[in-house]
């Protein structure tokens, strides 16, 4: 593991228990099932995948809101083991949620919303709190900040609300920000302003960002690397340009070809996309999880064994048997898939 990584995750798994009638065990939802990744200081990484692929669970695990079943997480070089470790880590991570309206308590003013994290974490004097509140409002371009202090969330536009959520997430000066679909509920023309604010914060404060989305088109200008997630696993990891120019994993290829651009030619032709739906996380397919929908599936291979992460090119890793022969990336390997004891 490299020494300057802010966050290192190895073989992380978070499973939910399915119970019928509240107590009869029915199975496990393998929402995150063996994810390994590294995040450097100040780096923005996108986790892209469809709904049901487990990316929200990954977000919650990285935030410390969900307990992982297995796997190692290291923050600033130190492993997170005890509950106290995780609690301290949680203070250093900010959370930006998808729905700005639900993420803001409707009965609190902007000032109160921003002060709560400070109060809870013991930032003492009211003067210091006020200063930090004003500072964070300016950082997200809600200016002039004094004018916003006594407003309620419903008095703000969607973009302003989401910027307020970002302000709240960063007011404790975290090292890492996890943004779960931060702009998907906003209008198209408003998404840019929020993404630009996030980008600005990332660059000015060396804030690492994990940006979770299903919309690959927003990734280009706002992230350095992309991780593609499918059915609880990361199937490809690459720099943004590499992925957009030359995706290696068939699922990444499918995702890219499925994203339309405003091209009038679209109306005249069918778009080639794999049929079917993402698999159930309770009973995932054997072997490579994408094989039932994959146009390049190798029978006898892809349905038998999970592919390891092959480093196809420096910095681009794909978990696909098509690249057998490439060196296996050091960071991760598919291990013990059995049920918890």
């Amino acid at each position: 593991m490299s020494g300057d990584a802010l966050l290192e995750v190895r073989d992380l798994a978070t499973w939910y228990e399915l119970r019928r009638w509240g107590f009869v065990h029915q199975g496990w939802v393998r929402a995150v099932d063996g994810v390994s990744l590294q995040l450097r200081d100040g780096e923005a990484v996108a986790v892209v995948g469809e709904s049901g692929c487990g990316k929200s669970t990954l977000a919650k695990t990285l935030l410390g809101l969900a307990r992982p079943l297995r796997g190692e997480v290291r923050f600033e070089g130190r492993p997170l083991v005890s509950r106290e470790d995780w609690r301290r880590y949680r203070r250093r991570v900010g959370y930006v949620q998808q729905d700005p309206y639900g993420a803001l308590p409707p009965f609190m003013t902007v000032r109160r919303i921003l002060e709560e994290p400070l109060v809870v974490n013991g930032v003492a004097s009211p003067a210091e709190r006020r200063a930090r509140v004003l500072e964070s409002l300016e950082a997200v371009q809600l200016v002039p900040p004094q004018e916003f202090l006594s407003r309620f969330p419903h008095m703000l536009s969607g973009g302003q609300q989401q910027r307020l959520v970002v302000a709240r997430a960063t007011i404790l000066r975290p090292r890492l920000l996890v943004a779960d679909e931060p702009v998907s509920m906003l209008d198209a023309s408003v998404r840019v302003e929020v993404l630009q604010v996030l980008r600005g914060l990332q660059q000015r404060n060396r804030l690492a960002v994990v940006y979770i989305t299903h919309d690959l088109s927003t990734v280009r200008h706002f992230c350095e690397r992309v991780l593609v997630m499918y059915a609880g696993k990361l199937v490809e990891q690459a720099a943004v340009e590499d992925l957009l120019r030359d995706p290696k994993h068939p699922y990444s290829q499918a995702l890219l070809s499925a994203i339309p651009d405003p091209d009038p030619e679209n109306a005249r032709r069918l778009r080639p996309v794999p049929a079917g739906e993402p698999p159930s996380l309770v009973r995932p397919p054997s072997g490579c999880r994408f094989h039932p929908r994959c146009p390049h599936a190798i029978p006898g291979v892809c349905d038998r064994q999970q592919p390891p992460d092959f480093e196809v090119r420096p910095g681009q890793v794909a978990a696909c048997w098509l690249y057998e022969g490439a060196p296996v990336a050091a960071a991760a390997s598919a291990r013990g898939e059995g049920e918890p004891s």
């Binding site: 469809e50 709904s51 536009s157 969607g158 209008d187 198209a188 023309s189 408003v190 998404r191 840019v192 302003e193 993404l195 630009q196 299903h214 919309d215 690959l216 088109s217 927003t218 280009r220 200008h221 957009l244 499918a254 995702l255 890219l256 499925a258 994203i259 339309p260 651009d261 405003p262 091209d263 009038p264 679209n266 109306a267 069918l270 778009r271 996309v273 794999p274 049929a275 739906e277 993402p278």
Partner: protein, 325 residues
């Protein structure tokens, strides 16, 4: 060829505690036979109210509802409520509502729900007949026939959306309004659904009125695009023209503000907010955010037919307005 649907000066205003909301405020558009028109607009522009206005699915607090809606030569606004219900709604004009996958009745089986319009309009006389129609409808939208016996919660989001489309098509209407059919779906499911809509379009020759906020989705299906802003259509023209080189400043600003995967430009955010529909400004409603604003914009702009057949609601294209740049 005579357009299938012609809408002239459609107005729908609502009474609210804060005043009268002019959700649809003078909309003009046409849908040709077998053609698809995309109504493009951001949240709050009134496009869902437009769908309701066309289908006469009105809430109780309507303050004003007027205009001409001519379907196949017949003015629908002149019909009584009962005749509209029997002859037009769902029969000639139907709707796939927003988040349709959440609007299926959770206590009815899928097959029973899709069959309901058949029974209500007396198209079938026996359960076997209904079942045959339903299975065919489901097949047509790519849902396996055995799903007719399942309940909505047993289906995925994409499947439920297809069921809603099947329901809208069951009486073979000439025009189907689709309100944000793909916005809550994943990108692969969206692509699959759009492929389905494309094939339905070619196969059935049904006209579609697609309501969406996403330009890319519009480009997938539209023959013509109508851009809606603050209750009005500000540009209406062939999709080719609109998508390559739009006329109205809002259209241009919208294109520039949308992030794009393959284009190499940085998106430019559009400052400001759309005007409140309670008290829209007297002149051009986009004026306060328009980079090309000039003196005449204080008056309501005329509807100008520009070259290529596009119609724009903008002073920049009016021949008689002085050009001050």
């Amino acid at each position: 060829m005579e357009a299938l649907l012609r809408v002239e000066d459609l107005q729908l205003h609502f009474r609210t505690a804060a005043g009268t909301v002019r959700a649809v405020d003078g909309v003009h558009l046409e849908v040709g036979r077998g053609r698809t028109v995309a109504v493009l607009g951001e949240s709050g522009c009134g496009k869902t109210s437009l769908a309701r206005a066309l289908l006469r699915l009105l809430p109780r607090n309507v303050a004003h509802y007027s205009g001409r809606v001519v379907l196949d030569g017949q003015d629908l606004m002149a019909l009584s409520e009962e005749r509209f219900r029997q002859e037009v709604r769902w029969v000639r004009l139907s709707l796939v509502p927003q988040a349709a996958m959440n609007s299926l009745n959770p206590v009815l089986r899928v097959g029973d729900q899709v069959a309901e319009p058949l029974w209500l309009h007396g198209r079938v006389r026996s359960a076997a007949q209904a079942r045959a129609h339903v299975e065919e409808a489901l097949r047509r939208v790519g849902v396996p026939a055995e799903f007719a016996d399942r309940y909505p919660f047993e289906l995925s989001g994409g499947m439920r959306q297809r069921v809603a489309i099947a329901m809208a098509l069951i009486l073979r209407p000439s025009l189907v309004i689709l309100d944000e059919p793909t916005s809550a779906l994943d990108v692969l499911t969206q692509a699959n659904l759009l492929n389905l809509l494309k094939s339905l379009r070619w196969e059935l020759q049904t006209s579609f009125l697609l309501i969406t906020h996403d330009v890319a989705t519009a480009s997938e299906l539209a023959d013509d695009v109508a851009l809606m802003y603050a209750g009005q259509i500000v540009e209406f023209g062939p999709a080719d023209r609109f998508l390559r080189d739009p006329l109205h400043p809002y259209a241009r600003a919208l294109r520039a503000s949308v992030v794009s995967l393959r284009e190499d430009r940085t998106p430019q955010p559009l400052p400001g907010r759309p005007p409140s529909l309670l008290n829209p400004p007297p002149g051009c409603r986009f004026a306060d955010r328009c980079p090309s604003r000039f003196a005449p914009c204080e008056d309501p702009p005329p509807l100008v037919t520009a070259e290529g057949g596009s119609r724009v609601l903008c002073w920049l294209y009016a021949p008689e307005a002085p050009r001050v740049r």
